[in-house]
Amino acid sequence: MSEKKPAFWLRVFAILAYTYIYFPILILIIFSFNTQKINVRWEGFTLHWYDVLFHDSNVLLAVRNTLMIACVSTLVATVIGTLAALALQRYRFPGYTAAESALYIPVIVPEVVMGISLLAFFVMVGLKLGLATIALSHIAFNIPFVTLVVRARLHGFDKSIEEASMDLGANEMTTFWRVTLPTIMPGVLSGALLAFTLSLDDYVITYFTAGPGATTLPLRVFSMVRFAVTPEVNALSTLWVFTIFVVLLASQVIQRRQEHH
């Protein structure tokens, strides 16, 4: 799209929008330093909860599980979903409507229902509940999100570039990797990002498909609601956000440096 700098009011709006997005995060970060265990009112400043976090092996295990599941399910869902988007956006084949409808099911079905149906299915099939069943479930609901986003990107895709590439002697595979994929990459990455985010914070479906000892972070935090979601959780989220933000900032800086060469 145009590289003209966006209009003034647009920039103001964007700043307001980002404020809206980040204000609760700021509150969340502040309250990670609260002395009050039940974290309802601000009582005082402490780093105690960060200390608790680093010694809490349960939470750290849950974090590891959550990340692992998110990575695996995102990768698989993105690959499968992108292929599906290509199929639906460019081809007609028998079973088209059925495939399209099947893709909408995970978006439409309430999570409770999907969770219970998957639980019943795994039990029926004899699959033992654990991390693997969670991952399988996450892939299932991630695929449609990837497909939908990539389809939006593909719509109106100008095929003349691909045809030109093929005229110049490249075969389908090369054309796909060198021409098509780079062009739809923003859509694919957006879809992958969305899938990763969904998997990271999923509670309901994970709840039903988890087995003894297989716990994820959302499960752990939700279970704390009954008594108190202590500032330890805020501490974890703060560190997480902070780390990724630093990584992002660093990659931006590195990119800037590269461009100046």
């Binding site: 007609r92 495939a99 079905v109 409770v112 299932a140 986003v149 990002l193 956000v241 461009e259």
Partner: protein, 303 residues
């Protein structure tokens, strides 16, 4: 290799590749097959279980008795449930409208910034969602409650005299719902907007169109696929959402999501819950397919 054992001519293998290369239908099927197989196993089969479940009966202990009965669907034909469905549709619609109002300018802004900043800005939108859902909502509760941050600041500044009653009202629910669904609208919208060719915009300008006209006649129509994708990703889940309305609204109303959850996790009437889910599923499926077809979403054909 195989031609000696099977007796088939070597031409067969060659033909398969040829078919894939030249036959668009075969190509399409090949591309869709991983998804189709995966979803068949892990989505369709479980859903068939749910359909079967909706025709079963609730046992005396909340278990499922394998006795076929259509009472569950008959129970649904009741103004109470219709009212709940309509209310849920309203919540979904309101959330969608507001995510478009806030998300569109934001997506447009990102699409117009220099390319090297765009991923960063997108990541910034998603980053908060890598915190935990519960504490994000708790943060909103801390901001919006009677003795919360917003009221404290406004009172202190003298803007208001009495604390605003926002928490546990529909306003609070909307604020949090839009907050949670914003990325689902911004991301698809962005991918659509980002694709709009500079040449098209310049052509319009060359033909004498003012910026607003260009926007209405060129940009907006071309961003429709993104809006459709975003609307689907927001409206449908928002309609079935109940955690945010419960936490921010005080759990004073029952939405379709609450109703279904209650059947499974409170009254333990799984067959009835399954029937209600089926109703919701069919309704939204029909709506979605009509919506996307009408707006030409699936009309790309390989010629």
């Amino acid at each position: 290799m195989s031609n000696i054992q099977t007796g088939k001519p070597a031409l067969t293998r060659f033909s398969l590749r040829k078919i894939l290369r030249e036959n668009p239908t075969a190509q399409g099927l090949a591309l869709i097959s991983p998804t189709a197989i995966y979803l068949l196993l892990f989505m369709v089969l479980p859903m068939i279980l749910v359909v079967l479940l909706s025709f079963m009966t609730r046992g005396p202990y909340g278990n499922v008795v394998y006795r076929v009965n259509v009472q569950n669907y008959a129970r649904l034909a009741d103004p109470l449930y219709l009212r709940i469905l309509v209310f849920s549709l309203g919540v979904g619609a309101a959330t969608t409208v507001f995510t478009i109002l806030i998300g569109y300018p934001l997506a447009y802004f990102i699409a117009r910034t220099p390319a090297r900043h765009r991923s960063f800005l997108l990541f910034l939108i998603l980053l908060p969602f890598w915190t935990n859902f519960i504490i994000r909502i708790y943060a909103w509760i801390m901001i919006l409650r009677t003795e919360g941050f917003l009221n404290s600041v406004l009172l202190h500044m003298g803007v208001i005299n009495v604390p605003l009653n926002i928490l546990y009202t529909p306003t609070a629910v909307l604020i949090a719902m839009v907050y949670e669904f914003l990325p689902f609208m911004v991301l698809p919208l962005y991918t659509s907007l980002e694709k709009i060719e500079n040449a098209q915009l310049e052509a319009a300008a060359d033909l004498g169109a003012r910026p607003w006209r260009t926007f209405l006649r060129v940009t907006l129509p071309l961003s429709v696929p993104g809006m459709i994708a975003g609307s689907i990703l927001v409206f449908i889940p928002a309609m079935g959402m109940f955690v945010v309305p419960d936490l921010m609204g005080g759990a004073k109303t029952i939405l379709i999501g609450n109703l279904i959850r209650n059947q499974f996790l409170v009254s333990r009437d799984w067959p009835f819950g399954a029937a209600a889910s089926m109703l919701l599923l069919i309704l939204t499926l029909v709506f979605t397919l009509l919506y996307t077809r009408k707006a030409g979403f699936g009309e790309e054909l390989l010629v």
